[in-house]
Amino acid sequence: MAKELKLMKGNEAIAEAAIRSGCDGYFGYPITPQSEVMEHLMAEMPWEKTGMVVLQAESEVASINMVYGGAATGKKVMTSSSSPGMSLMQEGVTYLAGAELPCLLVNVMRGGPGLGTIQPSQADYFQTVKGGGHGDYQLYTLAPASVQEMYDFVFKAWDIAFKYRNPVMILSDGAIGQVMEKVYVGDYVPRWTDEEIAKNAPWAAFGKPASRDHNIVTSLELDSAKQEKHNHRFQAKYREMEKNDTLYEEIMCEDADYVFVAYGSCARIAHKAVQIARDKGIKVGLLRPITLFPFPTQPIKALAQRVKGILTVEMSAGQMVYDVKLASEFKCPVEYFGRYGGIIPTPQEVVEALENKLIKG
């Protein structure tokens, strides 16, 4: 594939990847710090290049339901928002999960709660991986740590979404969304033809040919026995995701006495903190979850059996730390360090926290 090097914001990379990955439709509503996604799309006019539909909705409630409609017809559709907007979308998200609709959601997180701040945050971890909407469901959740990953994960998202018939979330933050970095972009992947949709999404409601029964897309099943069976199937699907599609990266963990666990922007900061700590003679590594659901439980469990302690680094009041503690099976101390409300931790702070909470403690 021909590669082209561009300098882009993370948000622009999402939009560019949407166009180049054969996305059929984007439906969104402006909110800082992700508005560049729709701005880039509107400026690029992809309806003239690839036939992609772009629509500015009247609210996040409408945009997530436009995604629901488009996804129900087997199209590759997406939306993006930031924390308060993503809260508004939660009803639609659980309907998407309940109706098993493949789609892409992007949350460029900002500090909360409430209207909060427009600065970066990771405080929507619980909302994303523990529920958000009602009912037992999971979103396959990718956590990009660079502009390149913002771009690449859009492509990855379509594969996963249609593989499992499940919504995929790219859980980013205001720092990754706003920062400009170099990014390699590839050739345009054509949008699926009607024939490809009929083949890849035979369940979809795209108009009933005489050759088959009518397709119904719904999350409703009033018979509780059948509803429980649906749920069993969902859970089996989530276990398959855990088995086959858990992604993570280990950096300098081989000889590590201590390990940071951090994702997204915090993984970049923790990576720098690894270098600072090693300069001081402390052997530290970094485990970066790339998927937050499914969570890299097994590699963390393995590390916990041989290191002296684990520190999670988060832009929240301590959310992912619970999953790390469970994964560790308490074989080693697990501590948390974070800044929140829109504050980004410095690598120095991270090293100090390691020393204070795990080494001296």
Binding site: L55, A62, Y68, A72, G207, A210, N215, T218
Partner: protein, 275 residues
């Protein structure tokens, strides 16, 4: 004795459309949903667009409409059908996307989606069944409940000081530049059903010509929720609903054909009881 003559094809006088399934409907005896379903399905069959039709079901009594229409169907969250339809029709511009919604779904929780889809002129059909009540949840007040009309949440009748005025959303969407055809129909008599079916046909034809939003209200009964017999409910609708929700075309070919005076909204009519 079985008469062999009646099964001969040349003697066929009526056949249930294949665009309705044979699933037994859950609607109450006397409910007009079945008739409204049928005329929509018949138009789809007559126009030969079954393979292009995509329906959106609401939340409410007609949530299970997808079991009865033999076309591809999507079940929406409460009030969001016009948002789904907007996206679907844009992604499939040569298809026939239609929503089927009740008054609570369309005119209360889904007001924003309704107004904005109509204002954008989405090339969709909105079928709006107005029975002035939340039927499925047990007869609570709807945005279209008449002043003085009892319901489960207005047991002594709707009061303007407590509950505000009934919302005439059909007159409202007619004001928007995106709507092309806005009409109010009913299925209360055979003559009304024939008129309503002609309106449904016109809506689908306008959609095929990509004219913008088609909006058809069906003034309807809910004899269970109103606690009347079907016959009483039909008569009560004629006596009390029709003076407020006047039947006929409101907008034709993008032009208002029946002006709406907002002062009319404030006319309180004494409700007539029906024996």
């Amino acid at each position: 004795m079985f008469n062999e003559e009646i099964v001969k094809p040349e003697n066929l006088v009526y056949k249930k459309t294949d665009v309705l399934t044979d699933v037994i409907m859950h609607y109450c005896p006397g409910c007009p949903h079945g008739t409204i379903h049928r005329i929509i399905a018949e138009v789809i069959e007559e126009m030969g667009i079954q393979d292009k039709a995509i329906g959106i079901a609401p939340v409410g009594c007609s949530v299970l409409a997808y079991n009865y229409f033999n076309v591809d169907f999507v079940e929406a969250a409460h009030g969001r059908a016009p948002a789904l339809a907007s996206a679907i029709q844009r992604l499939h511009p040569d298809h026939h996307t239609f929503t089927y919604q009740g008054d609570g779904d369309l005119a209360a929780i889904g007001t924003a989606e309704t107004i904005h889809a109509c204002n954008r002129g989405e090339n969709i059909i909105i079928f709006f069944v107005n029975n002035a009540i939340y039927g499925m949840t047990g007869g609570q007040m709807a945005p279209t409940t008449l002043v003085g009309m009892p319901s489960a949440t207005t047991p002594y009748g709707r009061r303007v000081d407590l509950n505000g005025w009934p919302l005439q959303i059909t007159e409202l969407v007619a004001q928007l530049p995106g709507t092309y055809y806005v009409t109010r129909q009913s299925a209360s008599t055979p003559a009304d059903v024939r008129k309503a079916k002609a309106a449904v046909r016109k809506a689908f034809e306008n959609q095929a010509a990509k004219k913008g939003t088609q909006f058809i209200e069906f003034v309807s009964t809910c004899n269970s929720g109103w606690k009347m017999t079907p016959v009483q409910a039909n008569e009560w609708m004629r006596q009390n609903m029709f003076p407020k929700y006047v039947l006929g075309d409101i907008k034709l070919e993008g032009q208002i054909v029946r002006e709406y005076n907002p002062e009319d909204s404030k006319v309180i009519r004494e409700l007539k009881s029906v024996k």
